[in-house]
Structures are given as structure tokens and as C-alpha cells.
């Protein structure tokens, strides 16, 4: 049984899917609500252990949502085993939060969406806001009884784009590059803090527009209000209703953040995350690449 939406925020009410976000205040009041599970997903695998929202379980994108050998996500059986072990049921409302402006929380939410877990929401402002507000953090271990999450086949066709999809897509719709301008221009093959996630070539996919992910974030760390987001993505990037949109970054975590904005906050209906992103495209043989500050063409 899904938990009621957070209807307290005028900002949320303006979004296409207001129920996809919760406020810290709402979450604090609902920690013990049956049918709600809180999940923490961070960039640092030990951050949860230093303190987490009471009752939250950790789901680490790198080590728990990914196949350890092949560059892909866990399959239906793997996801069912993971969520059963974490004590999450198919009809639970899952609220995900994390560090780094919810990058990895958004990525985890996107993976949950591939498996069709219906009610997944983000905590606006993430871990940093919860802590900044002085809310309760605990190191007490969370014990949730195991559940029997069903084996669901992953749907890779709706929200996910592969390299070949992108190759065929160039020129047919908006491609959004959410990386830093230096990565987009081709000045760097890596982001300054992430040299491990490099590639052999620098630049961007032809026709892609540069809309760095951080443009969607307000000064207070939450998402910007709808009107401001519309100005950035609709007026600025020219995305129109009915467009197919594909977003990418380096390994897909920041483009998941933008995917969340486009899909759930602005209501564009056909938004896909190209999770291979630049670590794949920038090292792939013979794919088209453009450098410089213009989107370019094929």
C-alpha cells in the first residue's frame, strides 16, 4: 500500500510528478509509517556507516546494483535477492537519499525504475540537507526482516539508451550532455576529480547540448522550482513536448539526476539515460565526436 504523497510543498506541487519528491520534514514525520523504506545511496561506500537516517538501509550503486564482471546492472534475480535481503517489498514506498546532491540516489532510483518498482521518491536536498537541519542521524544497525521481492525482468527499452541507440538517434532529438564545459569542449578527457573515469578521446556527441547537471540545483541544495527548470531545459535547450530525449555524462550518475528532472519534474515523456556515457563513447572506435563549444553536427 503506497504511502501518501508529500503535499506540503508549493514547489513540489508545480512539478509534473509532485509525488516523486519528499521534504525532510515529511520524511522525519513518516519514518515509522508502515510501507515506507528509506534507502541511502552515496558516492562513498562507508558514509552510511558514519551515520544515517534512522531505519535507512544502504544500497551501494557500485557494489550492489552492478554486475561484478560485465558492465551492466544486476538481473531480475539479482535485484530480487538484493531487495529481499534489504527488507524491501514490491509495493513499498521507497525514499532514496544520498550525498553529492543525490547523484547516486538518482542513479539508484533510475535502476529501481528499470525494474518497474513503482513508488520510488527522492529526498529533496539529500543527506546534506538532513544533516544541516540537525535531524537525527544514527549509527545503529538497521534490521529489517527479509522480504520476498519478486523476480522482475529488467526493462532496458524505455528509460535506458545503449551506444547503438544513440548512434541512430543523433539528429533526431535533443541530446543533453550534463558534464562540465571543459569535458564538453574536449579540453579534458576526465572530470577534475574523477581521473579514473577517463576515456581515450575528449569532446562530445555531435548535436549534444551542454547543460551541466548543476543547473537544476538551487542554492539551498534542492531542485530548482519548475519555472526555472522550464527556462533551462525548454527555453534554453529547446526541448519540446513529444521529443525523445537522451541524457549522458561520464558513467551515467549525473545524467540520472538530469533524467529525474526531465522525466519527473518537467514531465517529458520519453527520456532515456545513456548510462554508457562518455566512458564508453569517448573510447569507442569510429563513433563521431565533436570538440569545441558548439553542438556540431554529424
Amino acid at each position: 500500500m503506497a504511502v501518501d504523497h508529500d503535499t506540503s510543498s508549493a514547489k513540489f506541487a508545480e512539478y509534473a510528478a509532485p509525488g516523486r519528491l519528499v521534504s525532510t520534514e515529511w520524511l522525519a514525520a513518516n519514518l515509522d509509517t508502515p510501507g515506507l523504506v528509506v534507502v541511502e545511496s552515496d558516492e562513498d561506500v562507508l558514509l552510511y556507516e558514519t551515520g544515517h537516517i534512522p531505519g535507512a538501509v544502504k544500497v551501494d550503486w557500485h557494489t550492489e546494483l552492478n554486475d561484478p564482471v560485465v558492465r551492466d546492472y544486476v538481473d531480475g534475480e539479482g535485484f530480487a535477492e538484493l531487495l529481499s535481503r534489504k527488507g524491501i517489498s514490491r509495493d513499498d514506498t521507497v525514499v532514496i537519499y544520498g550525498d553529492k546532491n543525490n547523484w547516486w540516489a538518482a542513479y539508484a532510483l533510475w535502476v529501481f525504475s528499470l525494474f518497474g518498482h513503482e513508488d520510488v521518491r527522492l529526498l529533496d536536498g539529500g543527506r546534506d540537507r538532513w544533516i544541516a537541519e540537525g535531524r537525527e542521524i544514527t549509527t545503529a544497525k538497521t534490521e529489517r526482516p527479509a522480504t520476498q521481492y519478486p523476480v522482475v525482468e529488467r526493462d532496458d527499452s524505455t528509460l535506458r539508451a545503449y551506444k547503438d541507440d544513440v548512434l541512430a538517434f543523433i539528429g533526431k532529438g535533443p541530446l543533453i550532455d550534463v558534464r562540465s564545459p571543459e569535458e564538453y569542449n574536449g579540453e579534458r578527457t576526465t572530470a577534475p576529480a574523477y581521473p579514473e573515469e577517463g576515456s581515450l578521446r575528449a569532446g562530445h556527441i555531435p548535436t549534444a547540448q551542454s547543460v551541466p547537471w548543476g543547473k537544476a540545483v538551487a542554492e539551498d541544495g534542492g531542485f530548482k522550482p519548475r519555472a526555472e527548470l522550464e527556462a533551462i531545459y525548454r527555453d534554453g535547450a529547446g526541448i519540446k513536448d513529444g521529443d525523445d530525449v537522451i541524457a549522458y555524462c561520464r558513467i551515467g550518475e549525473r545524467s540520472s539526476h538530469t533524467w529525474f528532472v526531465l522525466q519527473h519534474l518537467l514531465g517529458f515523456e520519453n527520456v532515456r539515460n545513456y548510462d554508457g556515457s562518455w566512458t564508453e563513447w569517448g573510447s569507442a572506435v569510429r563513433v563521431p565526436i565533436v570538440s569545441g563549444s558548439e553542438p556540431g553536427s554529424l
Partner: protein
């Protein structure tokens, strides 16, 4: 310059490695967190002169290291932010493991030491690369300052 050099894991680093490997995988992250909590604060001099330190670009978080070599003996200093406990753990292992060694002993540490301590699967290969970056930069500073 010598050709092939033998590598050797010094006693403290060997002890740390064995501590990790002796634990069941499920408990190793907890040990890494203990290391993180042991990372000593840097001296006032270093804290007030960040320009003395080298940024470890391989780490996702801002991590800085500084190596001193005095009378042939190495002291390693490192800072890493509290919101990066994994990185603090890596730094702590190296700070404790390298400090007190001779320059030669540091240079003989195998570069794949981070991959030998049973953490790669637990933190992911991407993240363990940060520790390798730290070790290699430390060795470079030792070479330059010996």
C-alpha cells in the same frame, strides 16, 4: 638506474593486509572505517599551508598528502574530508604504514598493494584506484625528497 627492483611489503602494511584478509568479507568495511577514524590530524604547519600538499587527483574527494624525508626516514601526512570515510581509511592505512620507513623501503612497496588487501570487490575497482593514486604519489614524493 637499476633495472627490475624487487618489491617488498613492509611489516606494518603486511600486518594491515593480513588483518583485512583474515576477516570475513562482510566485516572488512568496518575495519576500513576504524582506519578512517584513526587518521591523525596533520600538524598545524601543514594545516595552515595547504600549498605544501599534493592533491591526489585519483581520489574522488579532495585528498592531500605531504611527505617528509628526514635523515632518510619517511613521515607521511594526509588530509581527507570527513564526508569521505573510504578515502580517509585508505589514507590512514598508508600514513600508518609508510611513516617510519626508510626511503628505500617505501619505494619497494608494490604498486598493487591496494588490490591485495581484500577490499577491491567491496568498494569497487573504481574506488580502490584512489588508494593506488595515493601510494604512487607518495612514492614519487619520497623519490624526489630523499
Amino acid at each position: 638506474m637499476a633495472g627490475m627492483t624487487d618489491t617488498h611489503v613492509p611489516a606494518t602494511l603486511a600486518e594491515f593486509r593480513d588483518e583485512f584478509l583474515e576477516l570475513p568479507a562482510a566485516d572488512r568495511l568496518e575495519l576500513l572505517l576504524e582506519f578512517a577514524n584513526e587518521l591523525p590530524p596533520v600538524s598545524d604547519e601543514i594545516a595552515s599551508h595547504p600549498e605544501m600538499c599534493e592533491r591526489v587527483a585519483e581520489c574522488q574527494s579532495p585528498v592531500y598528502i605531504y611527505i617528509e624525508v628526514t635523515d632518510g626516514v619517511v613521515t607521511m601526512h594526509a588530509t581527507a574530508p570527513p564526508e569521505a570515510p573510504t578515502t580517509r581509511g585508505f589514507a590512514s592505512i598508508l600514513v600508518q604504514g609508510l611513516t617510519g620507513l626508510t626511503a628505500d623501503e617505501v619505494l619497494a612497496i608494490p604498486n598493487d598493494y591496494p588490490q591485495s588487501i581484500g577490499l577491491t570487490r567491496l568498494v569497487s575497482p573504481l574506488r580502490i584506484g584512489g588508494m593506488t593514486g595515493m601510494l604512487m604519489r607518495a612514492k614519487r614524493q619520497v623519490e624526489a625528497k630523499r
